[in-house]
């Protein structure tokens, strides 16, 4: 049978936060583009999601368990002057990491963080409340992740064909 593997939409060059889940691992990040542009490198770069997962848990990295991606559009960051949009996204991303540290149970069974929180740009003030935005983003990520867990329950993810691992970094 078939099952939905995800839908992505969004305008190019707009601000997003995103989360990536696999097994008990989670990664939070930000991008100034529609998220798949950034997600590609999370499956191919040694310094991003899959690369870090290889470093900490090679079994999970090579396992056929699915990867879940979720992107959240944050127009408030785009309302900042252009040179500050990246700083605004990083501020929310830092807050998002804080939300996870305060209450990781919202995204259980994911419990191990792979991303590094960016330094918080505390010298900047924004036209939005970064803490409130991050709280909404975290709740939406948790909601989407949990509903996907329910939807994907029972779906079998086959072992990759011998010699062709499903997730393998090109350099490894």
């Amino acid at each position: 049978m078939i099952s939905l593997a995800g839908i992505v939409w969004g305008s190019p060059r707009t601000s997003h936060l995103y989360a990536i889940f696999k097994g008990r691992y989670v990664y939070f990040g930000e991008t100034g583009h529609v998220p798949p542009v950034r997600w590609k490198s999370h499956l191919t770069s040694e310094n991003d999601f899959l690369g870090k997962l290889y470093d900490v848990d090679i079994v999970e990295a090579k396992s056929p368990s699915p990867i879940f991606f979720v992107g959240i559009y944050i127009p408030c960051a785009d309302s900042e002057p252009e040179p500050r949009q990246k700083i605004a996204r990083r501020a929310i991303e830092a807050e998002l990491h804080k939300r996870f540290a305060l209450d990781p149970t919202q995204v259980a069974p994911a419990a191990a963080l792979l991303s590094n929180p960016p330094p918080s740009p505390v010298r900047h003030s924004f036209s939005f409340n970064k803490s409130e935005v991050a709280d909404s983003v975290y709740k939406l990520i948790a909601q989407q992740y949990k509903s996907w867990l329910v939807r994907s329950d029972g779906i079998t993810f086959n072992q990759p064909v011998q010699g062709e691992p499903e997730f393998e970094l090109p350099t490894r």
Binding site: L102, A108, P117, V122, R123, S125
Partner: protein
């Protein structure tokens, strides 16, 4: 091998009573923490008044080590019957604590008491009935090598004495003596620490609007000294003197405490276990120096900052267990020694005892690396903000405040401006008086013509002062400064703000910086010397003196200008 498959027997093991007592007396109490553990029992017993007395041994003072003859803690809590007192002396006593009790292992009375002295006496009153006097004597335990207590009927005198201590329907007196055998800090240290810390430790209980707890402390040296009451103090200052503000780098006010985090932390335990959330509150305070004399803040704000007592000792994690502070200013290995303007309150309950491995004294605990890592991530942003606040305060302290010369005026208020050559002389000659009048006239004319009145620039809140150093561009070209003599207030100096030595060097120094004040002192001293010389050296013709000083100033100003141009980036280097 499975235990059940093996043949098992049981046998009782020996307990060496005296050695066990010695051991529990040495689990890490200082006198004040031991006394606080006994106070905890009084709070647990719903006392509304707790009085701590330290009785000095004969001939000893507050400053001598080991000089306490007896510690006494009196409370008006629920009290105990004779049987209940005996039970309280049991090791691991009274395990059925009500939720959120300050007690934990049932060891506090013995371990805290035996860390203070060799004998613990308890007399209690319950439902109006006074108990016997029960004594746990470590010497007797050692002699018999058994856990025993002695119980004595009260003599009429003792009964009257304890009735006086326990005037209500219920209450308890705990007395510890045999203190001389234990090496202790001086009682002044114990009392100072208790006075400084109890208001913070029991702030919630003392300030409880429904059932406030009154705590008093005293030291008796053969007298019946009055108790000093302990005032509550929440070290995070949630109730003022100014309300918490929310961090915005554009509007930081250098006075208020800033609330940087107030969230429940849900520590994720292994194996899917959870526990109730721990409340985390983070507040950042302005730098302590803003409350000191050199602060550019107005006096009222300075006082406010001073009240926070921002210091290394008062920074870090303040960990509360059931609203009672158990850990004061711990870094938890997360905070560095420079982060002394941040206070982090962690609110635990007995539910977290096992997670955080709270020990018998309830003073120490351990957080595992995983939870510590999470806590560190949570605090990343508040810590960065607190550092930013510290930096802003530091910059303000170094920044000119627009009240140039005010500090010198303040510091020189009581410094005489007399000419040492004239001090032994009687009434000044007419020529001197004439010259002084001329100087006063010149001063008034300069004030009127050049707009250098200076009163506005030096005005301090509520007490305008005569500005002794005035910064103005109305000084003759080439001169760095010009002195004047006011008829009433004495000497004042106008410093040339157009002179390169000012624009390149002095302008960049904070108005209240010691460097600036010392430069002003050198200038002012020279000005006093010039004014006094012109006024008092009456046997030298005034025109000649003025010509000398005029030449002097041109040389002085020119040299400074040349030095400045040669070393233009001196302060930047």
């Amino acid at each position: 091998m499975d235990d059940e498959t093996m043949t098992q027997t049981t046998q009782e093991i020996a307990i060496h009573a005296a050695r066990l007592c010695q051991a529990i007396a040495r689990i890490g109490y200082e006198p004040q923490t031991a006394l606080l553990d006994i106070v905890d029992n009084a709070v647990t017993a719903n006392a509304s008044a707790i009085f701590i007395s330290l009785y000095l041994a004969l001939g000893r003072t507050l400053k001598n080590r080991n000089s306490v003859a007896m510690y006494q803690v009196v409370d008006n809590g629920s009290g105990m019957t004779n049987d209940e007192i005996v039970d309280a002396f049991a090791f691991g006593a009274n395990g059925n604590y009500r939720p959120h009790s300050l007690s934990k292992y049932g060891m506090g009375l013995k371990s805290a008491g035996l860390s203070l002295g060799t004998r613990i006496h308890i007399v209690s009153k319950k439902n109006g009935v006074l108990s016997q006097r029960h004594t746990f004597d470590i010497d007797l335990v050692e002699k018999r090598n058994r856990f025993i207590i002695t119980s004595s009927e009260l003599t009429p005198e003792a009964s009257a004495q304890y009735t006086k201590l326990l005037p209500g329907e219920s209450g308890t007196v705990v007395e510890i003596d045999g203190c001389a055998k234990i090496n202790h800090q001086s009682p002044s240290t114990t009392v100072r620490k208790l006075e400084e810390e109890m208001g913070v430790i029991y702030a919630k209980f003392i300030s409880d609007s429904n059932s406030p707890v009154k705590i008093g402390i005293r030291v008796c040296a053969g007298d019946d000294a009055p108790f000093k009451g302990i005032a509550p103090l929440d070290i995070l200052f949630p109730n003022g003197p100014t309300a918490y503000k929310t961090w915005d780098p554009e509007t930081y006010d250098f006075v208020s405490p800033y609330l940087l985090l107030d969230e429940p932390w849900n520590p994720d335990l292994a194996d899917g276990k959870t526990t109730s959330p721990i409340r985390l509150t983070v507040v950042a305070f302005p730098q302590d120096a803003l409350g000191k004399m050199n602060s550019p803040l107005p006096p009222a704000d300075r006082e406010m900052v001073k009240r926070y007592e921002v210091s290394r000792k008062n920074a870090g994690f303040f960990i509360y267990r059931n609203e009672r502070l158990i850990r004061w200013g711990d870094s938890l290995g997360i905070l560095s020694k420079d982060e002394f303007n941040i206070r982090i309150r962690m609110d635990l309950t007995e539910e977290h005892d096992d997670v955080l491995h709270v020990d018998v004294t309830k003073q120490r605990f351990e957080i595992d690396d995983e939870l510590l890592g999470r806590l560190k991530r949570i605090l990343d942003d508040p810590r960065s903000t607190a550092k930013c606040i510290m930096k802003k305060c530091h910059e303000l302290l170094k920044m000119p405040s627009g009240r140039e010369g005010e500090k010198f005026t303040e510091l020189s208020a009581n410094v005489a401006e007399d000419d040492p050559e004239e001090m032994a002389r009687g009434t000044p000659p007419d020529e001197v008086l004439k010259r002084q009048q001329a100087q006063a006239k010149e001063s008034d004319e300069a004030k009127a013509e050049k707009g250098i009145s200076g009163e506005d620039s030096s005005a301090k809140l509520g007490e305008p002062a005569f500005a002794k150093i005035r910064y103005t561009d109305q000084v003759d070209y080439q001169r760095f400064w010009t002195p004047y003599r006011d008829a009433k207030e004495g000497v004042f100096v106008c410093v040339n703000t157009a002179h390169p030595f000012y624009t390149e060097f002095m302008k960049g120094l904070a108005d209240n910086a010691p460097e600036r004040v010392l430069l002003e002192t050198l200038i002012f001293a020279a000005a006093v010397a010039e004014i006094n010389t012109i006024g008092n050296l009456y046997h030298v013709e005034i025109g000649a003196i003025k010509a000398v000083f005029d030449r002097f100033h041109r040389n002085y100003g020119t040299y400074l200008a040349n030095f400045t141009s040669e070393n233009i980036n001196l302060l930047q280097e």
